[in-house]
């Protein structure tokens, strides 16, 4: 594998999901109808992952993901692979798009690797660029499932955390450098007890982990939980800023934030492609606030790109990378 050097200042990355490429759409459609073998499913998904990685490399992103091409939904995908879950019935996500909201019907346990194949494949075609391990967090898993077994949320979340930790171990054994846990549900219930509950679960997942530990939280009222999450056992918070007009930045300053920051500068809910200048300005804004140095700032979109048309996702990433390059020159004297 060719060596790839991730820039020290303002490395660029993605949050995880990417628009489903045609072969992934086909794979998922045929899987839903039960018309596809496991091998054929894998083949189609790999074709899609290869396309995603090509887009990332074309745009110049440094730290990649597999684009979550085999995941129809961030919760269902894992629920289908954990013991204790039963498939649910159709619940709408938006427009006329649905997911089978899973139901917890027994004790949740890890069975076998859930997303390892996709990650390994992505790594094999990434030209040496690191690929993040991206898993849905226990808090979000519970919030977006129905629970008919536990009744007690803490008990459910901790079992989920243990199952996810078991999954994380698989990647660590294969040399994973970046592990990201997605907890988008956390910002939707911005109370102290909730933040502490999620923190307890993260302890289980990250205890003794030497890879870079990242938690992604997006939208909602992050500033409300900020004081309770800052001592989470993570190296990096990956947060959404662009969509909320960078409202969160002054709070980071106020709380003396000193971890790494995944700095969301691309609005994933808007079809308008941010210009290079616009993204650069966002980086300048963060730098002028003098919260952390450029080596602690990872430039990325607010959230997964899956809801955007591919063409727009690509353009957005390209401009983001260009802006990071300019910032690197200006703020870190790097070419």
């Amino acid at each position: 594998m060719a060596a790839y050097t991730v820039p020290k200042a303002f490395p660029t990355t993605v949050v995880g999901s990417y628009p489903k490429l045609p072969s992934a759409q086909e794979a998922l459609r045929r899987q839903r109808k039960g018309e596809i073998s496991e091998d054929e499913f894998k083949r189609l998904v790999r074709e899609a992952i290869r396309g995603v990685i090509e887009d990332y490399i074309w745009a110049g992103v440094d730290i990649l993901s597999d684009g979550e091409q085999s995941r129809e939904d961030m919760v269902v995908y894992f629920a289908e692979r954990l013991r204790g879950y039963a498939p649910g019935e159709w619940v709408r996500i938006f427009d006329n798009v649905y997911f089978r909201k899973p139901i917890i019907v027994g004790r949740v346990e890890w069975v076998s690797p859930m997303a390892l194949d996709d990650w390994e494949y992505a790594r094999s075609v990434s030209g040496g660029r690191p690929v993040k391990v991206i898993l849905t967090g226990p808090y979000t898993m519970l919030e977006w499932s129905f629970d008919l077994h536990y009744g007690d949320r803490r008990e459910a979340i901790l079992d989920l955390a243990r199952a996810i930790r078991r999954e994380v171990d698989e990647y660590l054994a294969r040399g994973a450098k970046y592990v990201q846990i997605d907890e988008p549900a956390l910002s939707t219930r911005p109370w102290r007890e909730e933040a502490e509950l999620a923190g307890e679960a993260l302890e289980v997942i990250f205890r003794g982990v030497s890879a870079k530990r990242i938690v992604h939280i997006c939208f909602g009222r992050i500033e409300r939980i900020l004081p309770y999450i800052l001592d989470y056992p993570v190296d990096q918070f990956d947060l959404e800023f662009k969509n909320s007009n960078f409202r969160l930045l002054p709070y980071l300053k106020e709380y003396g934030y000193d971890k790494e920051l995944g700095y969301g500068v691309i609005d994933v809910h808007s079809l308008q492609v941010e210009s290079v200048e616009e993204v650069k300005k966002a980086i300048d804004y963060l730098m002028k606030l003098d919260i952390i140095g450029p080596e602690k700032i990872y430039i990325d979109p607010d959230c997964g790109l899956k809801r955007l048309p591919r063409r727009i996702a690509r353009e957005k990433l390209r401009n983001m990378v260009e802006a990071a390059k300019l910032a690197r020159k200006e703020w870190a004297g790097e070419e």
């Binding site: 019935e89 159709w90 709408r92 938006f94 006329n96 139901i103 549900a185 809910h269």
Partner: protein
């Protein structure tokens, strides 16, 4: 003697028929007229379930609404739709309505629906739901050049027109949904704007019952204080999501002379609600607002966040518990099918 009645808060999920119909309508495979007929069939199922469960007011299920804002945003000039974004703390996303100017209706959304529903709803009353103007503006994007509150006012006047025509066509219950008021960021000024907007809509509702509904959580006390100033007949609260806070609120602030609708059946989870919990909650609420003559019981939110099967089951539970509660708490259950005809049912 307190009268108890039941009505679900809002829309239902789409079953297979409605899903396929919507797909074919969206892709242009199905003629709009045929789509309407299919949707009416799908709607008849949820109307039937409500009638069979003893609902006093029934909705058509809003099966074709992609989200609460969409049908209105699509019917108004100067409003367009952007990307999708999360709807409160649900794993459900709505399309952001963007106001580029004052909304002007090109057509009305409600009157046609009311006509269709009225034929199925007898002997229950027709209930319609409109998005609260404040929630629509706050959850949308305001590029109109107007201040947020001025825009809220304009949205209210368009919705007032909708409501007037809906009532003229037979709607007897108008609910204005302001879930944004349960948001921790909602301010006293927001609540005042929402209350005024609701008053304005209620003025056009004639003899129909009007309700201002807040759900997903309890509003903060200062927000609640303002919203109960609204000139609507009923205040509808989600008391199931945070029961202790909701009861505390009612104890401290009362009902401001409004009738009360209590969201007690959990519409976001699928387990059967515990009857004793519901009874305790309702008893406490009634105890906090002693002047109440009637209490509506409802679901904590719309039923479209659970699968169809569970939405029907929850409807049944709501009806069943309402009857049991009336008996246990020494009240009377108002059930259209067994009750003697009431004035609003005539005509």
């Amino acid at each position: 003697m307190v009268k108890f009645w039941a009505s679900v808060l809002g829309g239902y999920p789409r079953g297979r028929l409605a899903r396929y119909t919507m797909r074919d309508l969206d892709s242009g495979v199905l003629e709009p007229y045929k789509g309407l007929v299919e949707l009416e069939r799908a709607s008849a199922l949820v109307v039937g379930a409500q009638l069979a469960s003893g609902m006093r007011f029934v909705v058509d299920g809003m099966l074709d609404w992609h989200d609460i804002f969409r049908p209105f945003a699509e019917a108004w000039r100067n409003v367009y739709l952007d990307g999708i974004i999360r709807y409160f703390d649900n794993n459900f996303f709505y399309r952001i309505p963007v106001f580029r100017g004052e909304p002007e209706p090109q057509r009305l959304v409600l009157p046609g629906r009311v006509k269709g529903l009225k034929m199925l709803a007898e002997p229950a009353g027709v209930k319609i739901v409109v998005p609260g103007p404040l929630t629509m503006v706050k959850m949308g994007r305001n590029e109109s050049g107007l201040s947020d509150y001025d825009l809220v006012d304009r949205v209210a006047s368009v919705l007032a027109l909708e409501v007037r025509e809906a009532v003229a066509n037979g709607a007897v219950f108008i609910q204005i949904d302001e879930p944004f008021l349960s948001d921790p960021e909602a301010s006293r000024d927001d609540a005042r704007a929402a209350a005024e907007a609701a008053s304005r809509i209620a003025r056009e509702a004639g003899t129909a019952v009007t309700a201002l509904a807040v759900y997903f959580d309890s509003p903060k006390p200062d927000v609640y204080e303002e919203l109960i100033d609204s000139k609507v007949s009923l205040v509808s609260l989600d008391v199931g999501d945070a029961p202790a806070r909701a009861i505390e609120l009612l104890r401290e602030k009362g009902c401001g002379g409004h009738g009360l609708v209590l969201g007690v059946i959990d519409a976001r989870r699928i387990h059967d609600d515990s009857y004793s919990n519901v009874r305790d909650l309702v008893a406490k609420a009634i105890d906090a607002c002693r002047e109440l003559e009637e209490v509506g019981l409802t679901t904590t939110t719309w039923l479209d966040l659970v699968p169809l099967r569970f939405s029907l089951r929850k409807t049944y539970i709501l009806g069943l518990y309402t009857e049991r509660l009336a008996a246990d708490l020494g009240g009377e259950a108002v059930i259209p099918i067994s009750a003697k005809p009431e004035p609003y049912l005539a005509g």
